[in-house]
Each structure stands twice: as structure tokens, then as C-alpha cells.
């Protein structure tokens, strides 16, 4: 194995050699990580190469960390541009209509993505929700199955929770041509629900 890896430095690298950087970064799956560990244990030349890689790994992080962070100008520019977006400018619409149109414009996947980006886990957080909750489910959602929605509803701690189903695909689009998109109905139901609880 030692002779083999030396030879491969001059010629084609071995599969294990190619994986060493990902092993250093800890991003290999368990099976590949085990293969690399075993190869490192029996091949000193490979271990030497791995030590060099560890150095590269640490200095790459050091180098990137030294680049600093963007100024607040970037954030101000971004949020000014978002404010100026015509689709989001709801003007003088009532709060319930603005909220419902905003959520109606988002797909469930977008909302799931928001949850993902904020590191929220419904399994952990739903029991702590005590405010009124409305859950709207699209009947043709192939990404979030009815049993998933049921579990989410059951996990919510609020005594005032309502679960409604709306015909539509996972983006709230129509399931068949000629049908209105599901998100219009979802928006209407949401506005109705908000109006009943927050009339002013």
C-alpha cells in the first residue's frame, strides 16, 4: 500500500487519496470515512499526505475567516431593494389581507425552507405554540403527506387550532386545468380566519 500510494503521487491518485480532503473536513459519509481511516492506519505515506491536508484545511479556514464581514451597506441595499419590490408593495390593504396575500404567494416548500433556514424544528417547537393556529393543507401536496400534516396539527399546543384542506398541488396551483389555483382559496380562508380573530 505504501509503494502504491507513492506511485500514485506520480501517476493517477487512488480513490482513497482523492477523498482525504473531505475526510479532513468531516464531510464523508460513514462508510467512506471508515475506508479512509483504515487506509490511513496501514499506510504511513498516506498519513503523511493527510497531515499536509490538515494543514491546508486549517489555513484555508484561517484565510477565509480573515476576510471579515460585509458592511451594513450591503444589508441596507438589500432591504431597500426588497421594500421597492412591486409584488410586495401592498399599500393600504388591511392587515389581514396583506398577511393572507403574503402567505398565499408562498408555496409550502418556501415556508418549509424558511423554517429550515431559521433552524426551527416543528417537532420541538410546536407543543410550545399556544396562540391560535390555522393549518391549511393542499390535498395534492406530494412533499408533505396528510399523515405529516396530521402529526403537525396534533403536536401544536394551542387549544385554538384549526385544520383545513384545500384542493391544490404542493405549490398551491390547480390540480386540473380550468380549476382556480388552490392558493387563492387558501388566501381567502386565511383572511376569513384572521378577520374572525383580529377584526380590527
Amino acid at each position: 500500500m505504501m509503494a502504491l500510494s507513492k506511485k500514485m503521487l506520480e501517476q493517477e491518485p487512488s480513490e482513497i487519496e482523492l477523498l482525504l480532503p473531505w475526510h479532513a473536513a468531516g464531510t464523508l459519509n460513514a462508510r467512506d470515512a471508515r475506508r479512509v481511516e483504515e487506509a490511513l492506519a496501514r499506510d504511513p505515506e498516506l498519513a503523511k499526505q493527510y497531515a499536509a491536508i490538515r494543514g491546508e484545511y486549517e489555513e484555508t479556514i484561517h484565510l477565509n475567516e480573515s476576510l471579515g464581514a460585509p458592511s451594513t451597506r450591503a444589508m441596507q441595499k438589500l432591504f431597500a431593494a426588497i421594500e421597492a419590490e412591486p409584488a410586495r408593495a401592498s399599500g393600504s390593504l388591511p392587515l389581514s389581507a396583506r398577511i393572507s396575500s403574503f402567505f398565499a404567494s408562498l408555496s409550502p416548500r418556501t415556508l418549509a425552507w424558511s423554517a429550515l433556514s431559521s433552524n426551527a424544528s416543528l417537532a420541538k417547537t410546536a407543543p410550545a405554540i399556544t396562540q391560535p393556529v390555522l393549518v391549511i393543507e393542499y390535498t395534492g401536496d406530494q412533499a408533505c403527506f396528510p399523515s405529516d400534516v396530521q402529526r403537525i396539527v396534533e403536536a401544536i399546543g394551542s387549544p385554538d387550532k384549526r385544520h383545513l384542506s384545500v384542493r391544490g398541488d404542493h405549490h398551491g396551483r390547480a390540480l386540473a386545468s380550468g380549476e382556480p389555483p388552490g392558493r387563492l382559496e387558501a388566501g381567502r380562508l386565511l383572511a376569513e380566519w384572521l378577520q374572525a380573530r383580529f377584526p380590527h
Partner: protein, 166 residues
């Protein structure tokens, strides 16, 4: 959006800065990236991590910005200068410090090699994720990083730094 921005903007900025090599351009870049995300959130398929999606958008926009810069300048020398502002090996060796030399040589890699090193080591992207961000086959990802590391070893050797490999 604020949560998303707060969580990812520094890494997106650093990735962009390593590509465009200009602070102001990198700041403009991240504003464009997150504005695009705001506009196109519905297109996010959820097949990959949000950070992978963001880095792919950043890369695309950075390369477009570099192309625009080159088109504007119509000057190949200036374009080359953008890509190679690093210390040369002679300068690096003067630093007499292996870590500093290593960082200098990392900066001296070609944009293609620098990008893959950053994605794997700093952004901790898997082979599959790098393939998705850069738009190349997984095997090419592995060999490209190997040759980036060989190039790094050559630069270090030229700078008089001995690491025991190769």
C-alpha cells in the same frame, strides 16, 4: 429574510469576495444574491442545503460580474490582474512562516483551484454539493481538488517550504 441573511451572509460574502476580489463588488454581489432569493424563493426545490443553493447563485453572479468587468475593460491584461494579485513564491518565502506561506500560496492558486479548495475546506461542502455548485461531474470535483493540492505543493516548494508531502 432577515434570519436567512443573518445566518448566511458572511459566508456568501467571503465566497464572493474570493471570486471577485473586490470588497465593494462582493457587497453588491451579496445584495443581488439575497434579492434573487427573495424573488425566487418558490423555485427552491429543497433537494440541497440552502447554503449550497446560495453558493451556486453567488458563483453564477460572481462569474457574470467578472465577465461584465472584462467586457467593460476590454483589456486582457487587466482581467489577468484580477485573477492574480497574490504574493509570488519569492515574497511568500520572505514571510518565513509556514502558515503564512501556506495562506499566501492558497491565495496564489488559480480561481478554479481556489474555488474548489474554499468550497471543500471552508464551506465544508461534500463531493456532491461541490458538483452541484460548480456544475461539474463528481469525479471531476475529486480530481480537480487533487490537482489544486498538487499545485499548492508546487508553490510551497518554490517558496522553500517543506511539508513532508509529496
Amino acid at each position: 429574510m432577515q434570519v436567512l441573511y443573518g445566518r448566511h451572509h458572511v459566508r456568501v460574502y467571503r465566497f464572493g469576495l474570493r471570486l471577485v476580489r473586490d470588497q465593494q463588488a462582493a457587497e453588491d454581489l451579496i445584495s443581488e444574491v439575497f434579492l434573487d432569493v427573495w424573488r425566487q424563493a418558490g423555485k427552491f426545490e429543497g433537494r440541497s442545503a440552502v447554503s449550497t443553493w446560495l453558493l451556486a447563485i453567488t458563483r453564477f453572479k460572481a462569474l457574470s460580474a467578472l465577465r461584465r468587468r472584462k467586457d467593460f475593460e476590454l483589456d486582457e491584461d487587466a482581467a489577468n490582474a484580477i485573477e492574480d494579485t497574490s504574493d509570488d513564491p519569492e515574497t511568500v518565502v520572505q514571510k518565513k512562516d509556514t502558515s503564512a506561506a501556506l495562506r499566501g500560496c492558497l491565495t496564489g492558486l488559480s480561481p478554479e483551484h481556489r474555488e474548489i479548495v474554499d468550497l471543500v475546506y471552508y464551506h465544508e461542502k461534500s463531493v456532491e454539493e461541490v458538483a452541484e455548485i460548480v456544475g461539474i461531474p463528481e469525479n471531476t470535483v475529486k480530481t480537480r481538488l487533487f490537482y489544486a493540492r498538487k499545485k499548492l505543493a508546487e508553490l510551497l516548494k518554490a517558496a522553500g517550504v517543506e511539508r513532508g508531502w509529496p
